[in-house]
Symmetry: C2
């Protein structure tokens, strides 16, 4: 039999005790978030009305490279961590590439994606600070599911705004959240001012992460003892996700290799940063030359075609102004099946790193992503989330370049989640009912010009 | 924080090297399968036209207690094994029981259930013997998905007959099989004589495992170089599943406990036998007093209300006659969501063990099963397959008895699979759209009287 897979797992006591805060090691730190009215840089205290205090401090921490993982969070990590690092011999053989392909399998978490890594941390800090209710938005439903479960574990009530198009395309994630006891509302909804404004202006608005964030933030602001939580974009979320890359670092060592290329799909940046930053640390501090590639959907190309600007994180303009690569906060992404990547902007850390040339970005069409996902499923047995398919497609591009050049590069990508709740999307792909979406430069320019 | 979970995992070199064949240790061996025309006991050779030869020999092996797991099969087991043994503190606290509840989490396999344990072995032996094509039936789709993936790994073509009601209720398992490259046909179909006979007699027949087996067996018989594979009921399938219980035995030792009660849901018996037989061995050989409970659906009660008789394994009467607890081979189970439990008979080993009082059986209503599944999801974070919900419900009954009596019994159950492809069923349950099905004694008697 041909070699098919090889898994590397850590012992419980090797699970990281600290998250890695790349901000501390960056030469050019991210610019500060600004208060939209005063244009003054925000302090952690300014975020307390919306976020848990410890999370607010983590968000702006540019000095401590290592932040301790609280013991109850680490205990919960042990439910599913370490996640396997897998040598994908099957995919290598299917591609006929000399490259060594590894993936970090975050799909083994009980909710099926990496999102739980931050949900647990956020729910924990909220509980510690006496919060009783949490709100959030969710696109594909991966984050909403994770937060619903984490809230349940720490005895918090969760209210989730799910992007309407995903609510309809993926009703079973709604059911999962409901099984975990959360309240789920499709966004835009008539339950908030932000939602009402959008729906009265555009009654058929299909929602986006931007609209759902506006609604969740509004609910958090107006409800006593209630905090907002976010599943990507923000620096503290990416911080929690570095547990992925920190484990992968030890596991690559077990495999006796070090990655030449690290790849993650890209929505707001947390899974990409999570797998990348611990390796990027060695580029920054020791001059290693690993390449880091963010794989974004061609229909939502903030990294490859957006501009670096101060912009809002949400559609209604409730959040601070963030310095980021953006398509404009009212950019309305196409209804691609990778709902988790339908976001107009990139996190501030990643934006700075891209600006400084420490990482790259590629855009992937929807059809290419599903083709890659199916080949991966056939060769590795795991059906990937439509989001993760973008990372696989980017990996395949690099592996095929190695086939041309004969180079034995080591490629590591993050399998951020499985696609078992997304089989309706695969069904459409298999029946030829999936298309690519294109965006004209003019559309992007028009949208960005509103920021001026 | 309260204690929530504790996982026990084995090292790679602790993964079992042998399957356990309980037939060798049984005092009363199962009666032989009979040729339906001659009523003569079958020999292994008689099964070669349908099954791989090694599987045929395993089926009738009543002498070797330990059968070596071929190295390529063991290599593939390492993709996902050992599966975690989990102490379900969350469920214990939710129930307020002094019982110690453990579950073996087979849902972590890439296809989401224990079925892969036998699919890998069967595909391997077929490949070894020069077979090119495999056929099978599937109910909920768990087995079909497993076989499709295993066939893909060993380079075999797979044709799967899926019970029509499941094909329609669970379209996404069909998509999974198709992503893995299998041909999937709803059964009964017009593609076989057996299917045509059923559909001309009953045009709206919703299918059952019995009809699908008939079709798959017919295809295997009439196609050169093609073998039939079965996902449960047969003794060789249960043999392969003993890897579950053998691992659990070592893991319970790590936890410093030994089960007073072992529970599995029951369709044909392979997951139940898989978790139970390695522990039952100690009852047989050393006089341990562990109880073994098979949890079957109240709407398909072959163990609790069927009779021990020689009967066919399929609807059309293509299989050998098997000595088993049965509701009659043309019993048509209600359309419960636990499609994998909709089978009229029990495997011959389990049937003999039940007859001899070495195990027990309970029947669980559909509503009780979903209620149990939701409580488990909330307390342990994993959404269980509707089939597994039956094992959870039986576990809860025993745990609540411990609450009454104050006994700290150790209960181990097999979480045979996750329910992520079954969210449509949970959705129906949450919206009150799930009912119980009852069967009258008269219906059962009428059906069984046809066997006389």
């Amino acid at each position: 039999m041909e070699k098919k897979q090889k898994r590397y797992l850590l012992q419980e006591d090797e699970i990281p005790r600290y998250w890695y805060n790349i901000q501390a090691d960056m030469v050019n730190k991210p610019l500060p978030p600004l208060n939209p009215s005063t244009r003054e840089p925000l302090k952690a205290e300014d975020l307390y009305p919306i976020f848990a205090e410890e999370l607010s401090r983590q968000e702006l921490n540019q000095t401590d490279a290592w932040i301790e993982i609280p013991e109850p969070v680490r205990e919960m990590y042990k439910f599913y961590r370490s996640t396997p690092l897998v040598r994908a011999y099957g995919l290598e053989q299917a591609l006929g590439t000399p490259a060594h392909i590894y993936f970090k399998n975050e799909s083994v978490s009980p909710v099926g994606s990496h999102k739980l890594n931050s949900a647990i941390a956020q729910a924990y800090y909220c509980k510690q600070e006496g919060v009783t209710n949490v709100t959030t938005e969710t696109g594909a439903g991966q984050w909403g599911t994770a937060l619903s479960y984490a809230a349940r574990v720490f005895g918090l009530e969760a209210a989730v705004y799910q992007v309407k198009v995903s609510y309809e395309q993926k009703p079973y994630r709604r059911s999962m959240m409901q099984v975990f006891g959360a309240q789920v509302t499709p966004s835009p909804s008539m339950s908030t001012s932000a939602g009402k404004d959008i729906l009265t202006a555009m009654p058929h608005h299909q929602g986006s992460l931007g609209t759902a964030i506006s609604e969740a933030v509004e609910l958090a602001r107006e409800t006593p003892n209630c905090k907002y939580t976010l599943g990507s974009v923000l620096s503290h979320v990416t911080l929690h996700q570095t547990v992925i890359g920190l484990e992968a670092e030890k596991q690559m060592e077990m495999a006796g290799e070090y990655p030449d290329i690290v790849i993650g799909c890209f929505g707001g940046g947390s899974n990409f940063g999570g797998i990348s930053f611990p390796f990027m640390r060695h580029n920054i501090l020791e001059g290693k030359q690993t390449r880091f590639i963010a794989a974004e959907p061609a229909s939502c190309p903030k990294l490859t075609r957006g501009k670096f600007r101060y912009d809002f994180g949400d559609t209604a303009g409730y959040t601070p102004l963030l310095p980021m690569f953006t398509l404009g906060h009212d950019f309305m992404p196409s209804n691609i099946h990778a709902g988790g990547l339908r976001y107009h902007g990139a996190g501030v850390i990643v934006s700075q790193l891209l600006k400084d040339g420490l990482m790259e970005a590629v855009d992937i069409d929807q059809l290419e992503s599903f083709e890659a996902g199916c080949l991966f499923a056939k060769s590795e047995g795991i059906i990937p989330a439509p989001e993760s398919c973008h990372a696989i497609a980017a990996t395949m591009r690099e592996a095929l370049k190695c086939k041309e050049s004969g180079e034995e590069k080591v490629i590591l990508f993050n399998l951020s989640g499985h696609g078992l709740i997304d089989m309706a999307s695969y069904d459409k792909y298999l029946s030829g009912d999936i298309q690519n979406f294109t965006i004209s430069d003019k559309d992007i320019d028009d949208n960005l010009s509103k920021l001026d």
